[in-house]
Amino acid sequence: MAGQVASGSRSGLRSALPLLLPAYLWLTVAIFLPLSAMVFFSFMTELPLSGKAWAFTLENYTTFFSQGLYWTLLLASLRLGLEVTLWCVFIGYPAAYVLAKVLKGRSREAIFLLVILPFWSNGLVRIFSWAMVLREGGILDTALNAVLPFKINIDLMYSYPAVIIGLVHSYVPYMVLTCYLTLQAIDDSLIEAGRSLGASRLQMLRWVIIPLSMPGLVAGAALIFVPVVGSFMEPRILGGRTGTFYGTVIEDQFVAVFNWPLGAALSFILLAVVLVILALASPVLRRAA
């Protein structure tokens, strides 16, 4: 025994094992097993739960390629993911900068609290609150008409912009948090050095701040893009007749027609597409980061 433990790296692993075990056990039980079950389901003709005879098939995957509508929806969902991510960058990055470099002490804590507040409320409640704000005769419409001298009609509910607004609201805190961490780590003396060498504000941003905070931007973008592409709750509730996306079709397969095999196959195709996109983007991102 003593001889085995002697090797340095192995003893490191051994002592780390009790610390790693809970996390890996949990991942195995909560992620790996259900995912494997779903992989299994996606190759079946019928759900074994249904009590009918089942066999292995590739049909669930070929359905995706034989029907144009899944492609159309997947592209629509990817575009949605891209747009939401961009809005999160435009809104979240400046906020993170102000939090990390401008505000100090109490005021920083207060603003920080406001940023993460959405995390503490239920997602469904947030979406229904937006429904009250965005509809015709809703809070936004009434408030603007009360203030403005002319009559305007704001009815954003059940539209593509409504879906974007709802999703950006849900996901912007990720961008603020990841960017805040990297921005805060930038040494102030670097900024001072840049200034003293005569760099303008824009030059500072372009050559110092953005490159140094790039890891946070990339992490935030990945954290937002992936779930948004598969989102189904926000499009369904806020999108109205334009609210059909790849995620809602998967949800239909699981909930409405109980075709889990097809739903699982569509999910894994989405997973594959997202992984390919991340893989293609990774050289660019790595260079940037």
């Binding site: 909560a30 249904s50 929806l73 629509a76 598969g230 189904f232 109205g240 007749r241 409405a256 027609v257």
Partner: protein
């Protein structure tokens, strides 16, 4: 996409574990039904438990497919299940439900003969389903938007209501609605292209696809819609219970009718309790209280309907013989048809983007 997969798996495990943990005991009546659909009203359960000594345990489903799966995976757990008559055939063929001895259900004698004699509920002279309530998927209007109520289904296509029309997010319902609009038999759609063309031209009119009663009522309450497909019982509930400006319209072209019935699953451990529960559910006293307190579809029990006030919607409008001529009852649908309908419906929804 992790969320639906995870919830789906959790449902699967819940279904499996419930087999082991929830073994029905004799004095309990396990009821499987939609949530908020009569059988789980607290006052009704209290009255039934007091009268018979059986304890009611409710379980719910969110779709007919889920209901069938729960029956398949939990043999012996449920004593009463509420099945849409169009699905009774499938449940019977899979030997999920057993014949019912109607002589043990006194109120069965008062069920209207056309419902009790529905070929969907009986096989080889044996009764597999006791008709409970029936209703329509027709149109409902926002009374603020109409001087006089429309009479035709074509009102849905009227330019004046552009962007203020709703339809339920359900492939079968949408296709059958299209069949009525094109003058076809909902159970034998010959010209699917006509249905598709008709529904395609409806899409630009649509505000959103509703999925729950609450969606519909909210949109009327905030005056966002003029007209849409709606269930008769829900329209009644919206008017009497929520005091909304809603009126049901049964178009001259017709409407889709459905019949809900109670069955006893194979392996039920408390058949006597199940019979007592079904008898209570079709009893006039329960029905009148349900209509008054909550709002309900039309009872299949003629005496229960007759016990309502003369001008009650479920008696006056739904009992009108002229309405009976126009409506078409939903017949069973094959899996292949269901998938074809879903494909058509998804295509329509995608093309509208």
């Amino acid at each position: 996409m992790r969320m639906p997969k995870l919830t789906a798996f959790l449902t699967a495990t819940a279904v499996v574990t419930s087999v082991f943990t929830l073994a029905a005991t004799a004095a309990e009546v396990h009821v499987l039904n939609w949530k908020g659909y009569g059988a789980d009203e607290p006052w009704a359960i209290a009255a039934f438990e007091k009268a018979t000594g059986n304890k009611v345990v409710n379980d719910f489903f969110n779709s007919e497919q889920e209901m069938l799966t729960k029956l398949r995976t939990n043999p012996g757990l449920y004593d009463v299940v509420m099945i849409n008559a169009a699905f009774n055939d499938q449940a019977m063929a899979e030997k999920l439900i057993q014949p019912i001895d109607v002589s043990k259900i006194p109120n069965y004698a008062d069920i209207s003969p056309d419902k009790a004699g529905s070929p969907m509920l009986a096989r080889d002279g044996k009764v597999y389903g006791v008709p409970w309530v029936w209703g329509l998927t027709a149109l409902a209007i926002n009374e603020k938007a109409f001087e006089t109520p429309p009479t035709s289904i074509t009102e849905m296509w009227n330019e004046a209501h552009k962007g203020r029309v709703v339809i339920r997010d359900d492939a079968v319902e949408a296709v059958q609605f299209g069949a009525i609009a094109t003058g076809q038999d909902i159970n034998d759609i010959k010209d699917m292209e006509a249905v598709k063309t008709k529904l395609t031209s409806l899409m630009p009119q649509i505000k959103t696809f509703w999925s729950s009663e609450n969606d519909w009522n909210q949109m009327v309450a905030s005056n966002q819609i003029d007209i849409g497909t709606y269930w008769s019982g829900s329209a009644d509930r919206a008017k009497t219970h929520f005091k909304l400006p809603v009126a049901l319209v049964i178009p001259q072209e017709g409407a889709v009718a459905w019949l809900d019935a109670f069955s006893i699953p194979v392996g039920s451990k408390n058949v006597a309790g199940a019979e007592a529960f079904i008898n209570y559910m079709i009893d006039p006293s329960f029905y009148v209280e349900w209509v008054t307190k909550v709002g309900a579809p039309v009872s299949a029990n003629t005496k229960a309907v007759a016990a309502l006030p003369e001008d009650a919607f479920n008696r006056k409008v739904m009992g009108d013989p002229d309405v009976a001529k126009r409506i078409q009852f939903q017949a069973p649908i094959t899996d292949a048809q269901r998938e074809a309908y879903l494909a058509l419906w998804q295509e329509l929804k995608v093309n509208v983007k």
